[in-house]
């Protein structure tokens, strides 16, 4: 299953610094910080702070904004040391004239609800509407108003492009090189194949399970990802496609596979294999594919319970980042991590071979 010659590996090994695998995050994790308008007021007497927070919270609980800190302390660098408290959202006080020169604090607070001692004149601020999910979002949000932040350290490291160590990157590069070699072999066959390749990897055993390429010349639905999924099934004693014409599409036979068994026994066999802790179809496997999968292929990976997906370059109707983010789709019963950019330039260069429009 070693698809690349040693010489080629050495020649390309110095490219490991030429690419970065970046995570493809959900819209919620990657969107710009949305802001909403609110009124804040300086606390002129710090001794009143806890009483003011308590009474304001009672009057204006700021439902749905649990990430917002009620009080911010001005930095000493500003020259002013007085803390500021969030009074209410602009939408909580619909009758207040925002354009009035001097806003009175009692216009925001019904009489007797909050004692006004220690509270200065209110002013407008923008506060983040949603809790920040990533460090970049947190940094932007904090410029407007302080929020809580439950940091996912792995996401932070991944966004810096530092999630994978050098030895890991070298292995990842080897897997993508196998996909690239398959893409070239498939594209070289002519008859309608697009230059796309994929490799299925068992990351625990650091082993390539299957390598395939786009076979749409024979069947328009046999995209590289679909081919790879079927090769995995074949390796487990199943499979539905025919590969006689495609010698570059290969599967490693799983040790637990049992093709000699009659079809009636196969589902029993899977059940047994699952009991022994063996993977359900592609559970725990990583897929390396030269370009971002289409909608069909992305959903096929959900059905196959893929572990992670690494792709080289984006595609215009791509469903793992470009057009959809199926791997983060709410309502689906399986989600997974996706990284893009592994050997991105080499993957892009495949289209120099033919038909540059389609990618």
């Amino acid at each position: 299953m070693e698809p690349q010659s040693k010489r080629r590996k050495e020649a390309e090994s110095d490219n490991a610094d030429s690419w970065v695998a970046l995570p493809v995050l959900s819209d919620q994790q990657s969107q710009d910080t949305e802001l909403i308008s609110a009124f804040a007021a300086p606390i002129t007497d710090k001794k009143e702070t806890s009483r003011l927070i308590k009474e304001l919270r009672c009057l204006y609980p700021l439902t749905g904004l649990q990430h917002i800190k009620r009080v911010r302390s001005r930095k000493p660098a500003d020259g002013l040391h007085s803390p500021e408290v969030l009074v209410c959202l602009v939408s909580d006080a619909p009758d207040v004239d925002l354009h009035s020169e001097s806003l009175a604090i009692d216009s925001l607070l019904p009489s007797n609800s909050v004692g006004l001692d220690g509270l200065g004149p209110p002013f407008l601020v923008k506060i983040p509407a949603f809790p920040p999910l990533t460090r970049p979002q947190f940094q932007v949000a904090s410029k407007h108003w302080p929020t809580t932040f439950h940091e996912d350290k792995q996401v932070t490291v991944a966004l810096r492009g530092e999630l994978f160590s050098q030895p890991q990157k070298a292995r990842m590069q080897g897997y993508m090189e196998a996909a690239l070699a398959a893409a070239r072999a498939g594209g070289g066959l002519g008859s309608g194949q697009e230059p796309v390749g994929a490799a299925m990897v068992d990351p625990k055993e650091e082993r390539i399970i299957a390598v395939g390429h786009d076979c749409r010349g024979g069947n328009p639905l046999h995209h590289a990802v679909m081919v790879c999924i079927d090769l995995v099934a074949r390796g487990q004693g199943g499979g539905a496609y025919r590969f006689e014409e495609y010698p570059a599409c290969t599967a490693a036979l799983s040790l637990t596979s049992s093709h000699s068994k009659p079809a009636s026994e196969t589902s029993k066999t899977i059940a047994r294999v699952v009991d022994e802790g063996q993977p359900y179809i592609c559970t725990g496997y990583d897929l390396y594919v030269t370009r971002e999968p289409c909608v069909m292929c992305a959903m096929a990976l959900v059905h196959s319970r893929i572990g992670r997906v690494f792709y080289g370059t984006a595609s215009s109707d791509g469903a793992l980042g470009t057009r959809y983010k199926i791997h983060t789709q709410k309502d689906l019963n399986h989600r997974f991590d996706v990284f893009k950019g592994v050997l991105g330039q080499q993957c892009k260069d495949l289209y120099g071979l033919k038909d540059p429009i389609k990618h």
Binding site: M226, G237, A240, S267, A271, V274, M296, R305, L332
Partner: protein
């Protein structure tokens, strides 16, 4: 669901199915779904009809092939392509005049596959809240995807309750191949 969506608008006469056709072909699709249920597969059955002829049919074959993408529609689409190869006819010209009859809304993957082959009309029974690609989870059927074939029309809701009951009967049995459910993190 339950109503005909955006029908008749710009479909040429000839491959918009009549009520009689829907009744006739959906009856066959339901028979296939029952067969799937009796064989321990997810009870979905489908037919692909071209010129009043069945050119493809399928039921779920996931367990049998150990390939989670072998849904009824994918099996049937492969048969349509095979039928074209045998008859030496252009698949493109056949697919654009072929109607899919299926007991359950196609999933996101199958909806994309139907687009890639330019199938113009899909008649289905019940919606698919778990995976549906014709509006339930995503609407792949009508989305702007210029590199993913053509959009298609749906006629939804025919014998929907019956299709739901079959799915319920299946999910009540234990699926020995399903992975153990993990608690949701969010």
């Amino acid at each position: 669901m339950g109503t005909e969506t955006e029908m008749n608008a710009d479909l040429k006469p000839g491959f918009y199915p009549t009520d009689e056709e829907i009744e006739k072909w959906m009856a066959s699709a339901f028979e296939m779904a029952k067969d799937a249920l009796e064989n321990g597969e997810v009870p979905v059955g489908c037919l692909m009809v071209y010129n009043n002829e069945v050119v493809g049919k399928g039921r779920n074959e996931v367990n049998e092939t150990k390939n989670a993408t072998r849904h009824a529609e994918m099996v049937a689409l492969d048969q349509v392509l095979e039928w074209c190869r045998h008859g030496d006819v252009d698949p493109q010209s056949v697919c654009v005049r072929t109607v899919l009859y299926v007991t359950v809304e196609p999933c996101i993957m199958c909806a994309a596959a139907l687009r890639l082959l330019n199938i113009p009309v899909v008649v289905y029974g019940c919606g698919n809240e778990r995976f549906g690609g014709c509006g339930s989870v995503l609407d792949v059927s009508t989305a702007q995807l210029p590199h993913t074939g053509t959009a298609f029309k749906c006629v939804a809701g025919y014998r929907a309750q019956e299709a739901v009951e079959m799915l319920k009967a299946f999910y009540k049995q234990e699926n020995p191949n399903a992975p153990k459910p993990k608690p949701r993190k969010d």
